[in-house]
Structure formats: structure tokens, C-alpha cells
């Protein structure tokens, strides 16, 4: 079977589309890590909850899209805040392994809640993005993928700019590096914690809405998180820019592998990249390797 150039282009573009959503979710992960040094294993499930809350508003309650989306984001922020306050903050002063294991427990709880309320059946989200496939040159891209890419990119651009120039971004990093010191210069450390988790939950929920609109929603959506873990490791656990670049790359790679080798090999390819990175450059492309003071 001759591989046509147009095929490669279309697959690449579609891959970049998915990649932008991986990048967006990766950014949510990085925000939490940058601010609280917590590795949040439940990021994929937070994305899933966002998608299902949106489903609840837009399909269950049949609210119009311009109400459902903000409502979802607000609810997601609340959920993120509650999680941080009740489950994360009490353990932040302890061993980081403990907090990590709490997020593991959280994945189980979130999946269970979704299956309890909505059952394990996959569902479709109501259509709200334009249906017309987008044409770039000769290549066709499904419209949802294209619009997801645009939305995700826009949000990430805003976040990157804000973190680079806003002193809140510095406050975030200061809090992660040394809480006592940050507190003593007047940074509201608990406030930073809450804010980062609420923001991350909102971003993840937005990604969930977009991922859900492209591929449907189900209680197994958290699997998307697996690719996101590879994205943040490749990009560097504390680098937003790294998440962006790695996300696009991994998304593109998975699409190419899926199209030309078969869908079952997608995760295999992603994990091979993980292996290579762990061996060659474990702190990722842009991550900071902290030298421990003795």
C-alpha cells in the first residue's frame, strides 16, 4: 500500500491536535508540581471528571453550551480546591511518597464515582463544536480536532505568558522550593496551594471537555493520563514549555504509529519513548535537576 504524502500530513495534523490536548493536561500536572511538588497521578481522572460534569450539565440537565462550560469549570475548580484542602494539604509536610499514594487512592475514588453515577458505558457528548471538516491546503482535519487544537493552544499561550510575567508565577515557584521562606516573605502559602490545584483542575476539566467531544467519554478516560505522564517526564516535571513541546510530539507520534502500524502499538511507542528518556535524560528536556544540599 503506497503511503501518500497527504496521508502523512493529515495524520500529523490530527496527531498535533490530540497532542495539544495532552500538552494541556500536562500543563495542569505541571502547575500542581510547580506549586506543591506533588506528583498527581490522578490528573487523567480529573480530566475525566471534568468531561462527565460537562456531560451532566449539557446532556443531563440539558443546559446550553454557554452555561455548561463555565459551570463545569467552576465545579472543577471547587473539586480541585476540596481535594487539595482535605486530602493533600494535611500530608504536604510529610513524606512526598504519602501524598503521591493519596493521589493513587484518588484515581480509584474518581473512577468509582463516575461508574456509580453514570455506569461504565461509553457516552457521547452533545455536539457544540462546528461540524465542517477544516481544510488546510489539500488536507482534511476533523473539525473537532482542529478547534480543540486552537482552544488548547490559546489557553496554553495565556498560561505561559501569565506564569512568565506575573509575580504570581514566581510566588508559585518560591512556594514549591521553600515553603517556610516563601511564607516569611509574605506569600500566602496555603493560598498558593489552593489556587494551583483549583487552576489545574479547571485546565484538566477543559481538556476533558475537548477530549470527550472528540472521542466520547467513559470511565476509562483516565488512560489518557498514561500518555500525559510520559509527556511530563519527557518535558520535565516542572516545565510548562516542556509539557507543551513534549505533548505535541507524543501526540504526533501516537497518531503516526496508530495510523501506520496499528492502534494497539500506540501506547507501546509512547512507553518506548519513556524508556529512552529515563535512560538518556531522566529529568526531561526542560526539567530542573535539583542538586541536593548535604
Amino acid at each position: 500500500m503506497a503511503i501518500e504524502f497527504i496521508d502523512i500530513v493529515e495524520t500529523s495534523l490530527a496527531g498535533l491536535g490530540t497532542g495539544s490536548l495532552m500538552a494541556l493536561t500536562g500543563v495542569a500536572f505541571v502547575i500542581i508540581y510547580k506549586a506543591t511538588k506533588v506528583i498527581n497521578l490522578a490528573i487523567g481522572e480529573m480530566l475525566m471528571i471534568g468531561a462527565f460534569v460537562f456531560y451532566g450539565f449539557s446532556a443531563g440537565l440539558a443546559l446550553p453550551i454557554w452555561a455548561s462550560v463555565p459551570a463545569t469549570l467552576v465545579v472543577a475548580a471547587l473539586i480541585g480546591g476540596v481535594i487539595e484542602r482535605t486530602m493533600i494539604r494535611p500530608l504536604l509536610k510529610d513524606n512526598p511518597v504519602s501524598v503521591f499514594m493519596v493521589t493513587i487512592g484518588l484515581t480509584s475514588v474518581l473512577i468509582g464515582v463516575v461508574e456509580l453515577v453514570w455506569s461504565a458505558e461509553p457516552r457521547r457528548l452533545p455536539e457544540f463544536l462546528p461540524q465542517q471538516p477544516v481544510l488546510i491546503g489539500d488536507a482534511f482535519i476533523p473539525s473537532k480536532t482542529a478547534y480543540s487544537f486552537l482552544i488548547a493552544s490559546a489557553v496554553m499561550a495565556v498560561l505561559i505568558t501569565v506564569f512568565a510575567f506575573w509575580r504570581g508565577g514566581i510566588a508559585l515557584r518560591a512556594t514549591a522550593t521553600d515553603r517556610a521562606a516563601a511564607s516569611s516573605v509574605g506569600i500566602d502559602v496555603p493560598g498558593v496551594f489552593s489556587f494551583s490545584w483549583m487552576l489545574a483542575a479547571t485546565v484538566a476539566a477543559l481538556a476533558g471537555i475537548l477530549v470527550g467531544s472528540v472521542g466520547g467519554i467513559s470511565s476509562a478516560m483516565g488512560l489518557f493520563g498514561l500518555s500525559v505522564f510520559v509527556v511530563v517526564i519527557v518535558g520535565g516535571l516542572d516545565s510548562i514549555l516542556g509539557a507543551l513541546i513534549a505533548g505535541l510530539f507524543i501526540g504526533w507520534l501516537e497518531a503516526m504509529v496508530g495510523r501506520f502500524l496499528g492502534g494497539e502499538f500506540k501506547l507501546l511507542a509512547t512507553f518506548s519513548i519513556l524508556l529512552i528518556v529515563l535512560v538518556v535524560r531522566p529529568y526531561g528536556l526542560f526539567g530542573t535537576h535539583e542538586i541536593e544540599r548535604l
Binding site: M101, G105, T107, S108, G112, E115, L116, L275, L278
Partner: protein, 347 residues
């Protein structure tokens, strides 16, 4: 109140049992383990065997996560490796049961070694992600390597036969599982009376100091991971003999969370905690099943909620114990013992 327990020799101080009372209790426990099958019904025997299999697996994970501080999210996948190994060798070559179990452990340990090699070199939670990746890849292999694993349909496991006796029912299988469980738990306890176990704890508590003392972090982390995988493999092999069929669905992702919960709930870093955790966690799904049946008059389809409720409870147990009782049931047990050791005094 406990009195006059001073030791008169170093050997006594380092023995397994600190007091004569402890020796008596242990003896009673052994007696109970031997006499139990004479009175148990089929259901209780099945449960007992399942509990013991989970004790082996939890003890293994405890060595890695509780004592060495490395989190694995793929423990169930290593059990699956053990289960498939037993199914394959006993089914294909009719090899002896004990050999199959050792192979199950060895294959699992080997795969653990491969997974650990790249991911344990770096400090941090990379092992967790790597084991997650490993369990996905292993799942893929189980599903697609049909000539060896039977693909979607899986493999049937012949009855465990030792010296001509068929261990076809749980009450017979008990006599295979029980001694293996006792031996493996004892071996784990012994580990922590030696420098190997001490090295594991040192790595968990402060790995830089451990290195200065001369402990090779990579070597010991890999050893801990290999031991933990070995235990998982043996447990998986016994599981195969109990359930007599292994499929890609036998060890779902939730199972890894089950064992992590068992370690945390029972008490990470203590052998008795591993036992408590396994017993507690095994009984929870049974308890839920009974509740669902009991609720049928009011909620006829209560049982379809079993799976999600189970998931929520496992997660809440992990979170709850980490926040409120981080040293697990073992600590609650220690408190009770302290209370009685000091009674009638208060502190």
C-alpha cells in the same frame, strides 16, 4: 501487665519472640492453622486460601513499598506473570507444582529486574510510572501473544497434583498454600534481622546517608523490587491453581491498587501489617457482596454497584489511613498491646 522481660543474652534480644507469652501465642496460631480445615466449610476454606495468597502478595509489596519506600503500581501485573507461568508450564509440560511456583516467582522477578533497571537509577517516583507502563505492556502481551498466553480466552490451569494427590478443592489446596505462606512470611521477617533488610529501610529513610555507608542504592533497590516481584509471582501462581483459569481480565488495574491499599491499611513497614492488610482487604469485597445481597429487598439491583463501590472504598481506605492512621492497623494493634502491657497503669 507485662513484667520481668529483660533479656539475658544478645541472642535472646535478637530472637523472633521477645517473651514467652509471644511464643505461646504463636504456637496457638500454628495449631489453629492446622486445625482450621477440619471445621471449615467450603466457602471459608476458599476464603482462607485466598487470604493467604493475598498475604504472600502483600508481604512482597510491603518489602518494596513499606520497607524500601519505592512505590509500584504494577504489582498485580507481576502476579499475572506468575499465574500465566504456572498455567503455561503445568498445562504444556505437566511439570511439578513446586517447580512451577518457583518458576512463576523467578520469571516475575526477572521481569521486575528488567523494569527496575532503567527506572530505579533515578531518585523519585519514576518506578511508579515505569511499573504503570509495564503493566500496560504486559497486559498487551497477555492479550496478543496467543500461542503462549491463549489470547483473549486465556489458559486453563490443570489441578495442582502433588505426589499423585489432586488438590482440586480449596480445602485440599489449603495444605499447599498454608505452609508456603508461613515460610514466605517468616523469610520476610528474617530479611529484616539482617543487613539486607536494614539497607532497605535505610534507603527509605535517607538514601544519601545510605550511600555514604556503602550501600549501593541501585543494587539494593533492584533486589527489593526483584524480591517483591518474586512474592507476587508465587502468589499469582497459587492464584492460578485456585481459580483454574487465567485470562487477561484476571488481574485488572484495580488489583494493583488493592495491594497498595493492603500495605497502607495494614501498616507499611511491618510484617504483621502485611498480614492485617491482606486479611482486611480480602474480606472487604466479601462483606460488600453480602451487603448487596442483604439489600436486595430494597435495592434489587444493588449488585451492579458492587464494582464502583469497591473502587471508591479502596481509594478512600488508602486516603483515609494515610491521613488519619498512617502506620495502619499494625499501629492500632501495637497501641492495644501497649495498653494491656501496662495495665493497670495508664502510660
Amino acid at each position: 501487665m507485662r513484667v520481668a522481660t529483660a533479656k539475658e543474652s544478645y541472642a535472646a534480644d535478637q530472637g523472633l519472640f521477645k517473651t514467652d507469652t509471644q511464643k505461646v501465642w504463636f504456637g496457638l496460631l500454628l495449631a489453629a492453622l492446622v486445625l482450621f480445615p477440619l471445621h471449615g466449610s467450603n466457602y471459608w476454606m476458599f476464603l482462607a486460601v485466598l487470604v493467604m495468597i493475598n498475604v504472600i502478595s502483600t508481604t512482597g509489596l510491603n518489602i518494596l513499598t513499606g520497607y524500601t519506600g519505592q512505590v509500584s503500581l504494577g504489582h498485580a501485573a507481576f502476579m499475572a506473570v506468575g499465574a500465566y507461568t504456572v498455567a503455561f508450564f503445568d498445562g504444556r509440560f505437566d511439570t511439578p507444582v513446586l517447580l512451577n511456583l518457583i518458576l512463576a516467582g523467578a520469571v516475575a522477578a526477572f521481569i521486575g529486574y528488567l523494569v527496575g533497571l532503567p527506572s530505579l537509577r533515578i531518585k523519585g517516583l519514576y518506578l511508579a510510572i515505569a511499573t504503570l507502563a509495564a503493566s500496560v505492556i504486559l497486559g498487551f502481551i497477555f492479550l496478543n501473544w496467543t500461542p503462549v498466553t491463549g489470547g483473549l480466552r486465556g489458559l486453563n490451569v490443570p489441578t495442582a497434583t502433588i505426589m499423585g494427590i489432586e488438590l482440586a478443592t480449596p480445602d485440599r489446596l489449603y495444605w499447599l498454600v498454608m505452609p508456603i505462606t508461613v515460610i514466605m512470611v517468616l523469610a520476610a521477617k528474617n530479611l529484616f534481622r539482617t543487613r539486607v533488610g536494614r539497607a532497605f529501610i535505610a534507603i527509605r529513610d535517607r538514601d544519601i546517608s545510605a550511600e555514604i555507608i556503602g550501600i549501593s542504592l541501585l543494587k539494593y533497590k533492584l533486589t527489593s523490587f526483584a524480591i517483591s516481584s518474586f512474592y507476587a509471582g508465587v502468589a499469582g501462581g497459587l492464584w492460578a491453581y485456585l481459580f483454574r483459569v487465567v485470562t487477561p481480565e484476571s488481574f485488572p488495574a484495580l488489583a494493583s491498587i488493592f495491594f497498595l491499599a493492603a500495605v497502607i491499611v495494614g501498616g507499611a513497614g511491618t510484617i504483621i501489617g502485611g498480614i492485617f492488610g491482606a486479611v482486611f482487604m480480602t474480606l472487604i469485597p466479601e462483606f460488600l457482596k453480602l451487603s448487596a445481597t442483604a439489600l436486595v429487598p430494597w435495592f434489587p439491583d444493588a449488585s451492579i454497584y458492587l464494582a464502583p463501590v469497591r473502587a471508591i472504598i479502596f481509594g478512600l481506605l488508602i486516603i483515609g489511613f494515610l491521613i488519619f492512621e498512617p502506620m495502619g492497623l499494625a499501629e492500632m494493634w501495637r497501641r492495644t498491646r501497649r495498653y494491656f502491657a501496662l495495665w493497670p497503669f495508664r502510660t
